[in-house]
């Protein structure tokens, strides 16, 4: 482990500079006239917007992916998504290992041994495992999606669509080729599309280490605390919103109202899964009730699990904050869960990420409120949280944003993607360095 820390590059710098470089290269490629169907360059701002959205696996778009881009443009976007999703998951998993997260013995044997041989070779071997895991799941996903797309679009286009949407779903990118901004709405009642997409989104959002832990341990009780938390929170954060969306949208003619019973169930489940943080939609997001929109904003803010392809403050961060509060209310000094306590420094990191994320959401929304004065407040709040959480859902304002608004969203997507991990890593290193420094005398204040 130490070896990795002794490398010359600060890992957070690698992350930020790496992402920025890939985004810029992507923007230059998408800016080429051959990327656009009409043969004219999309313009650098919108090329940058699209590239950032793809690399940060957000899915917000200013031009319709399915109809605007050529096969070249679509391929560039797909590669950017794969690099962004995979690169982030790899980096985040490495960071977690460097920070000394407890992992299972077998996981350690697989990864740590590889890393300890020599830094570069270790990285290569480790990355190979993540690649294998990713391509295997994406391949299976594409296979199942092809049962619908091949009959509908023919063999070549059908296979290409299956691969594109499988990668986009697993990487939680939310880009679609269905065209005319419809996302997956034509398939709202179609289990052949819904079920593979559900599973791809959820698996992509769990994280590599949880997947390895589950495969190795096979029993929930033997999983490490991190895996238990991820699975518990994922179940709660899908189950509760599923019921709420079903109730809130049951009679809404703009969303679930006109669907059959099965369609209502599939549609509500999709709406519960997609805000964390896939970004596809099968019902018209803009037609949701205000209560459902607010619930979606909360889910987008929380996002998926750490060291995965998903965004947001992450399920575990949310969980640590909630379990800390529950422990406090029960009068316990520690954050407790499954007979374990979570260390103070991790609670502090979770708190910091939560507070910084709220501040960023308020700040971004306020900036958009200034640049997009004519737009509805819910629309801009939704857009800001969607960009910061790298979700990609929208109430339909993305392509109506002013140039300044687009710049704000570009920054929000980038900060939303690299921010939480960078903060968590930087805090952990500083906390470690500052052990045993001078403490000030304690003093009291009143709160509440």
């Amino acid at each position: 482990m130490e070896r990795f820390e002794h490398m010359k590059l600060d890992p957070t710098q690698v992350l930020v500079m790496g992402f920025a470089s890939v985004i810029l290269i992507g923007a230059m490629l998408l800016n080429l006239p051959i990327a656009s169907v009409d043969g004219r360059s999309v313009g650098f701002l919108d090329a940058l917007f699209t590239s950032t959205s793809a690399v940060c696996v957000t899915g917000l778009v200013v031009v319709d992916t399915g109809t605007y881009w050529t096969a070249f443009g679509k391929t560039v976007i797909l590669i950017l998504i794969q690099i962004g999703g995979l690169g982030f998951m790899t980096m985040a998993t490495l960071f977690a290992m460097v920070l000394g997260k407890k992992i299972s013995l077998k996981e350690r044997l697989i990864i740590q041994e590889a890393l300890n041989q020599s830094t570069l070779e270790g990285l290569v071997r480790f990355t190979r495992y993540i690649l294998l895991y990713t391509f295997l799941i994406e391949g299976i996903g594409a296979l199942f999606l092809s049962f619908r797309f091949v009959p509908e679009y023919g063999l070549a286009k059908g296979v290409a669509y299956s691969i594109f949407h499988s990668i986009s779903a697993f990487c939680n990118a939310g880009f679609d080729l269905i065209g005319y901004g419809r996302s997956l709405t034509p398939y709202v009642s179609d289990p052949i599309i819904n079920i593979p997409i559900y599973l791809l989104i959820i698996l992509g959002g769990l994280g590599f280490s949880v997947m390895v832990d589950v495969i190795n341990q096979k029993s929930f009780r033997r999983l490490n605390l991190h895996s238990k938390m991820v699975l518990l929170l994922t179940a709660i954060l899908i189950g509760v919103p599923f019921v709420l969306f079903l109730v809130l949208e049951w009679g809404n003619p703009g969303t679930l109202g006109d669907l059959g019973f099965g369609g209502k169930l599939l549609g509500a489940l999709f709406q519960a899964i997609t805000p964390r943080t896939a970004g596809f939609n099968t019902i018209d997001t803009g037609a949701l009730t205000n209560a459902s929109k607010l619930l979606t904003v909360v889910l987008m803010f929380i996002g998926g699990s750490p060291a995965s392809t998903a965004g947001g403050i992450k399920t575990v961060t949310f969980g640590v904050i909630i379990f800390t509060v529950i422990s406090m209310i029960r009068g316990r000094e520690d954050t407790e869960l499954y007979g374990r306590r979570i260390s103070r420094s991790i609670v502090d990191r979770a708190l910091t990420i939560g507070v910084v994320a709220i501040a960023l959401a308020v700040f971004t929304t306020m900036l958009l409120a200034i640049t997009e004065a004519g737009l509805d407040f819910m629309d801009i709040l939704f857009e800001a949280v969607s960009a910061l959480g790298t979700v990609g859902l929208t109430l339909g304002i993305t392509n109506r944003l002013s140039p300044l608004g687009r710049v704000i969203i570009i920054f929000a997507m980038f900060v939303g993607r690299v921010g939480p991990l960078t903060i968590a890593f930087a805090l952990a290193r500083r906390q470690r360095k500052n052990k045993g420094t001078v403490r000030y005398p304690e003093d009291k204040v009143i709160v509440g």
Copy 2:
């Protein structure tokens, strides 16, 4: 101190039951036909709404205070405000003392000595000091307000109006008699009204112990940490929004746009002071830009200082959270400020109050989104946070709320008033009791 803890009644029960009783008595009085100008009862729901709003010093109203109520009704409201504001400040200051907040020696001599003689007699003497402080400030405030109100309304009505608005301002109640829902808008450019109201709101929102500390120490450096934090945060939370409101509303014809330079300054300063948590307004809140509305929501959420007449999560709670995050980012283990560290248990209390308040705000807004499906999202978010923070500002929907919506706001006002203090006190007692209980083994999770 121990004596107070050994009393048979749990202090939080006294607070909750006491407030509930006063609210019910007030509702019964306001429900009488003699309270209404038209000679017919307002109906129990709206009487309860008004009484809750008065006792919780919120200021949200479903009928116009100035034109709907008789002199009897107005007097009942004024008494409810004074009981609510004064009662809360007294209770909260006592709680803080019981929790062993460090207070200055002289403050201790004044209060603690009194309390130590015998519980009942001590309470009476202590309450007498708070009463003196309150009536002195309210009297001076009324005197200055009378310079405008007596020439305008004649001697009797002018004096009554001066007293009413002075009490309403010091208690951060926000009820006004100007009529037709105008609040203080006719006086937007009038320094004779603005300056006394500013000072009354700010003094009422500082808290008794800070006031005593300032009077005793005279120099900022010698103040205790709590007083320093209150003064620092109050200055920041007025100064920064003042500049922002000035910039955001400078050219807005619905608010500051048509005012002269002095009026712009006075109006922006009023808008910066009133969300924490006075609830008067001199400019049309509904005409603010979305950015200003969002800023107002944030300020209403934070509120005034602990153990004062103000509501919200409190400046110090907000400050502890922010300073904790800043300390974390600087890589320090402790929350540090002015060369002191803030104890872990206080940080935990602040965190708990912050998280519970956010959850309550989201929950209340979601309920209102369901019961008031036709209303704009910003309008209901604003109303929910205003009620929970006992602020009383509105974007104009209070009297358009459905009966169910009114019930939700009644609960929100009550919970918003007694909640933070009850939580803080209950947590502090449990933390104290649970010192030295069994700790679980530590385990790690990844956040971010």
